[in-house]
Symmetry: C2
Amino acid sequence: MAGDGSDQRALQYEQTLMYGRYTQELGVYAKEEAARLRESGQRRSVSDRSRTLDLLEYDKGRCAKCRICTVRCQKFLISRVGEDWIFLILLGLLMALVSWVVDFCIAICLQAQKWMYGGLDSNVFLQYLAWVTYPVVLITFSAGFTQILAPQAVGSGIPEMKTILRGVVLKEYLTFKTFVAKVIGLTCALGSGMPLGKEGPFVHIASLCAALLSKFMSLFGGIYENESRNIEMLAAACAVGVGCCFAAPIGGVLFSIEVTSTFFAVRNYWRGFFAATFSAFIFRVLAVWNRDEETITALFKTRFRLDFPFDLQELPAFAVIGIASGFGGALFVYLNRLIVQFIRKQKAINRFLMKKRLLYPALVTLLISTLTFPPGFGQFMAGKLTQKESLVTLLDNRTWAKQGIAEDFDYIGHSQAWKHPQLNVFVTLVLFIVMKFWMSALATTIPVPCGAFMPVFVIGAAFGRLVGESMAAWFPDGINTDGTIYPIVPGGYAVVGAAALSGAVTHTVSTAVIVFELTGQISHILPVMIAVILANAVAQSLQPSLYDSIIRIKKLPYLPELGWGHHEKYNIRVEDIMVRDVRYITLNCCYRDLHNVLLTGHLKTLALVESCCFLSSCICVFVCLCVCLQISTEESSFSPTRPVPQKPLKPALKRPSVVERPTEIPTGKKHTYLHKQLQTTEFPNSRLMKQSERKGIGYLIDPKGVWVMIAEWEEKQLDEQVNFNNCKIDPAPFQLVERTSLHKTHTIFSLLGLDHAYVTSIGRLIGVVSLKELRKAIEGSVTVKGVKVRPPLASFRDSGTSSSENEATELHKLWDRHKSMSLPREHTPSESDEKSQ
Amino acid sequence: MAGDGSDQRALQYEQTLMYGRYTQELGVYAKEEAARLRESGQRRSVSDRSRTLDLLEYDKGRCAKCRICTVRCQKFLISRVGEDWIFLILLGLLMALVSWVVDFCIAICLQAQKWMYGGLDSNVFLQYLAWVTYPVVLITFSAGFTQILAPQAVGSGIPEMKTILRGVVLKEYLTFKTFVAKVIGLTCALGSGMPLGKEGPFVHIASLCAALLSKFMSLFGGIYENESRNIEMLAAACAVGVGCCFAAPIGGVLFSIEVTSTFFAVRNYWRGFFAATFSAFIFRVLAVWNRDEETITALFKTRFRLDFPFDLQELPAFAVIGIASGFGGALFVYLNRLIVQFIRKQKAINRFLMKKRLLYPALVTLLISTLTFPPGFGQFMAGKLTQKESLVTLLDNRTWAKQGIAEDFDYIGHSQAWKHPQLNVFVTLVLFIVMKFWMSALATTIPVPCGAFMPVFVIGAAFGRLVGESMAAWFPDGINTDGTIYPIVPGGYAVVGAAALSGAVTHTVSTAVIVFELTGQISHILPVMIAVILANAVAQSLQPSLYDSIIRIKKLPYLPELGWGHHEKYNIRVEDIMVRDVRYITLNCCYRDLHNVLLTGHLKTLALVESCCFLSSCICVFVCLCVCLQISTEESSFSPTRPVPQKPLKPALKRPSVVERPTEIPTGKKHTYLHKQLQTTEFPNSRLMKQSERKGIGYLIDPKGVWVMIAEWEEKQLDEQVNFNNCKIDPAPFQLVERTSLHKTHTIFSLLGLDHAYVTSIGRLIGVVSLKELRKAIEGSVTVKGVKVRPPLASFRDSGTSSSENEATELHKLWDRHKSMSLPREHTPSESDEKSQ
């Protein structure tokens, strides 16, 4: 599975049935990407130079005044355009328009379905066909379209944004193709009436917008090329996404922070608020201009009474909603993962469905739409209603079960759907909750752009309504004993339930704020907060959040969060989890020592200590890859003329490729010494080769006859002392003391995006902690392979800002090529095991 | 001024008239504190040991079963008590009680004043006396009480919490004494009816509660001694403070984050929400139980219509409120600072008032209460109303100026105060705003525990009301042209104004959320958000926030924030701001080189490079203080038996104190060599002494005759190569490359709490950037002295967790003592200049 790479330049993403997953190690991808960028950068600089020359010649022929004027205008434009708020306003405007257009199209799609269904009421079978075919066609189109244009557009997008904001580069996630695929795919998917949400995809769409806008604006000013600025803008874009989706600016900002960030710079707070407010404003103004609304109000306006929203004695019921929602949320996440894992495990089904990619979406849609067919089973679960209509009716401030039985109540408009001549309203609600629950969990696995927030929100509202109606039936005159009769408002319970369940699934508390902004009423603040917190407490102790669950399914690089309330994390110290067997070299070691250390394993970095007895106070990390390769990179700024082979070579092909080596290495005069040294460190992983060299056999097919001589010469060189003079040594590796707590270690690792840290005791190196150990300590077991998470701050990428980093990746790349061309490594089963998982 | 130290163990805090300021450098304080802690730690460990022995003997005489049972119970208790949520619930409960009791007492105080004033209505003079004397007495008592018990309790407390959460230790701010002083002082201050707020002090009180509770709980479990946990708990406590003050859990969390944090760990989010929700809940439940309220509702409940809260065409008016509030907020901060600076500058007044400390509070109170005297000028500005009453009337949903003139409107209850027979309601409002504006700015300078949030909030509401009433008078039938008449709601404008002005003064956007929670209505969300964002944009470009302004006035250690929208920060690179003249030593230097480097300035750290030609790739920082002092600390764990002199010695006294030296240095056999070395590095700052030594004069009064010999011996030692073997070398100083942007540098500095960072280019040391340069680059000019901000993460304090840091401070301490006992440094005028400011 790991073998079949894709042709496109991407973090080797494996297209599976629903979510897909990453098979490539991030480090490998980073190396290739760095090499590519370096090359294209060189190419570009050449073309730039020629263009400048053209311009100069052109300028000579023009009048000077005109030029000055143009330059001034340009400068003014750049200085204006470069300001954050212009960017944020543009982003907000754009997203509001996108959101409104998407909503508009979805509404038309849904109306069309209703119209078709309504027009065919003479024949039930035709009605059924219309009811079922329409969503199947839409979903199939959405799945196919996304598949073809940009498979990255599938799913929510929040897990990917979370990963990107932590500093990992997932470049293909922010392209124009993905944008188009996501917007059109989402519109079709939601237009089908399936229980899917638009919130997650909107976070992704907003980020796409920001990335594209940033690229577009960089034509005017250089500021847009700054990496940290882009990260800030992406964070703001996530807020805009949620904000313009629900017209909830505050909730949007908070939700996006909770869902995507680990550490949040309060400095960037205003960006999110500014853009989200502007976006929500425009989004609502568009509705007013379109005569949908009279003025700007909430999206799902409620009209609960203000003077006595709820009684103190109702609080236990709200708490029950919270706790039950916590269990429900955890169950939802578990169910969702279970479905994915079940289908992945069934190899036969999986293989069949992989071939007929569109079959799975069609089948799932068919199943769901059959069950919701109004004259069929749908009549027992208000199947006629769209998601939006259900939510509006659930938040209604009238009580459905006023008389205990639903008959006497005059259901107006959509509320009628909840009334069934034979069934109690409670039964309808229970059926609705149960059916929608598994349907939503199933529907969100369809490979179309879709979120799970809204379906969960509706289920939560239904559950809250159920509890509220029960309370209203139980206490028809309200609970208050003070004389005034305040009947119970089941709509309030629905609000609480919606916030609690969506909070439990996403592990956020800001759903409370979203609920207030969605309903336009904040009177239930305390019940909502209590329920949300209880739901979070329960859900967090049972399951990861939906987004973290998807991160695991997709195998995105991540570091798990510390759970809450586990005070052990303060008591576990680094000395309990560190690896004590650190491989190191000393300053005065010879090449043979280095050779031997390298033979013991495939290390990427080596600890370089001052003296062997470990008494040195100065520890340096030595990016070992090899001492000499690096010199060639540094002194001659050696860059490969051939691109790195995109298709990984199969093991059988590796040995012959060795032949190619001599042609690859530049053989200028300057490099003869380096060339020799190259060999000494090239073989550590190939025992066979080393042995053959020792015997002086020189089995290598060598057209120029250089290699045999070199092999003998090298033997002598191995006893020389290593010359560290020009080595890539990181003199400041991160160090911890042995008593640093797990909690602090986690904080430092996630703040700085560390990969590993050395543990020292009074200057003596006593161990090393890597992400793997840390994750093991947090989780108890390893579930995902440890991949280096790039530092979110220290990531200067495209530009040549960080010469050291570029050189390091260059090094990695070179090293990697050597590895791939040397013999297959029989002695490292661990890595291959992990890859073949 | 720098000379007169205080006797108490505190960061030398200078008691000035209003705010006080810090005269001591943080570094110096840290050293002394570390020495003290070390000593007390040793003492404690001795007493601990003896106690354990006692227990052992005691245990022998008891039955084993009992003991096991006790241990088990204790373990269970510890495991329960150690959990975060128990702590947070206790904190919330405690703070809700405190908040409620304080509110209750304030209400009684205010009622008493009203009752007195009402009872004396026969005689205007007596009435005036009662009206004026009451607040003067209360404020004077509050000022005096605070002064005597804990001067740290003065003021808001938010600036201090901001500093503490950034990792600076301001220990005396979190003591029980301060708690008592703050609670009682605040109650009296607010009971006087002055325009003061309770929100800032409540943040401080909650933090005090958390610190004390943490100390108390540490009796049960060891978890409470963890430093990073305590920081997390303090952050949660700040949220609780705001939350239980306004019954606004969400706003509280957000406001406290915005006001106190720079980087925020989303992981800790739930703590704040949990504690603040619980606290707000209990706070409101207490009101219900006390029969103040029928059920849990908002504190300042509004009853605006839900269906059509505002018209789109009213938005420009809201925007105007926002912009005007921005200017108003900046003016308020400026005025507040101006008053403090004016009185500080007037040396004569200052000296007089410093002697009669209680005179200033009394005078200010007298002035303000005279002006608000209802039969006097107070009748034109609703002087009769308390702050709470004014706010309730301002948020009223009825329109005051319905008929253009106020006569026909039936003012009910407190609203009557706004009606004046001769004056228009507009005039009353304008007078109220203008008078309250300067009164609030003045009142918040009184040295009592008080905040400025609530007064500003009320002024903002009045301003909003003014605009709203004007709009209502301008468009009596509303603006909407659709046929239905929706009159304008001036109360909505008041809500917008309150949020905007308080947001402008504090530089936060979360005041919007606070406003929704306070009023219980969220229908005005878009106008409020727009106004708050505009107000912030204007205010932030004009003035620092009120809290930052106080931080500057108090000279608390801080690093300024990056403003918004200045894209230059992305373009400035480290190479533009770094200091290129870095003093360094090489690995193979001799003591004389070291000596010479030390002579050139009073450096705390020295760069140690591998070779002189700067070509080395390995740079290490060498905590120079001195090579040998440190050995004495490390090898013999040398600890001073005498405490560090608390009173700084005056220059004239310094020379004779040299005599004391020999008695201080332990002269065990082991230390003879160290002793010698000690001398070589002891003299760098005292030229005179060095010269006298060279001549072999030995002017030192030396009872044991050792010193002269040593002086000669040392000359030889100076030419020996420095032995770095046991030196305190930081092998991993933070490094930047020359092209790192200012923006990223700022982020890294504030994330890691760095003091300085070295700039390298391909492994060569080319410069150094410290907090000072960074601040200069951000501000353009230096306003506050650079003090080391301690890393918020890497701060293991009391416990022996970090041996290296303790040793470093120990070193500093030793070094400092040497400095203080050597001759006055004539060649370092810069430092003394700064001190004498």
